[in-house]
Symmetry: C2
Subunit: 142 residues, 2 copies
DNA sequence: GGATGGCGGTTCGAATTTGAACAACCCCCT
DNA sequence: AGGGGGTTGTTCAAATTCGAACCGCCATCC
């Protein structure tokens, strides 16, 4: 049960810490940063709303809200899908890419400082394998 | 970075999964459950608001909100501190204890099923040690 | 004593999140 | 053709969260 308590506390504290760091550093919330990262990694820098929502944590309506905010801020753009009238792509704009590239280094180093550097290589390996498996199971089951 | 992605995903998915399980099973939110657990573990089943807020994740105002909700539901009670007029204790009520004892088994087994049983003993050890250390550092530094 | 700085908790407004309901649509089957 | 069943994204109200401002009070220093 020590692992459970540790996981719970670390999960909350790390998320909180990085939210803060990200907001102070670049004015992005963590969800918004995640959206930018995923779009930047996607082919053509665009993804269907549903794909974004699946990869992320929040509900569909939460995603709609965030994308609307980011569209107002000029970081992404909506584009309707030609083959399916219902479908909507979120596309990364030039400004969005720039914003991400500006925010990423600070965020990455914060992650490194808070998490990576604290752990031994063996612990990192165990966490990557173990928690990866945990995620996979919850995903396919949930 | 694999560890980072795994941690991030697991953190979100596990929290979400357990929130859900807890709400379906006993009508408690995760924050509320945590409050009950801490009070039940405290001497005399009571804690100062600030102590609760420190142990938990949310802000002071968030705690005020939750305790108010739980007081309406009869799970806790406020008691002013005799030696410091400003201070407020949150006290676990009999109903609160009963509610916790009713919710705990299901929650514990959900935790076990989602997390503990998926990991090897070595992984559990690494997570307990590593993430414990991560938490400790963030706490004393934050 | 009496100011002064800081703490403990609440209140307030704004931002975010959620689940359920909704409207429009695709796919498959007959 | 045409009708279910499931999907897609949005809208809505309600719940929760946060940060900043605030009030009342302790403690300490002059």
């Amino acid at each position: 049960m020590r692992a459970w308590r540790g996981f719970l506390a670390a999960s909350a504290l790390v998320n909180r810490h990085l939210d803060q760091q990200l907001k102070d550093d670049s004015g992005l919330s963590h969800p918004q940063y995640e959206i930018l990262v995923r779009l930047a990694a996607a082919p053509r820098n665009e993804l269907r709303m549903t794909e974004l929502a699946n990869g992320l944590i929040n509900s569909k309506s939460g995603l709609t809200y965030q994308v609307t905010q980011m569209e107002k801020a000029g970081l992404v753009q909506r584009r309707s899908c030609p083959s399916d009238v219902r479908g909507v792509f979120a596309v990364l704009t030039e400004a969005g890419r720039a914003r991400l590239e500006e925010a990423a280094p600070g965020h990455v180093s914060a992650v490194r400082e808070a998490l990576i550097d604290v752990l031994t290589p063996a612990q990192l390996e165990a966490i990557a394998d173990g928690l990866g498996e945990v995620s996979r199971r919850l995903r396919e089951q949930g």
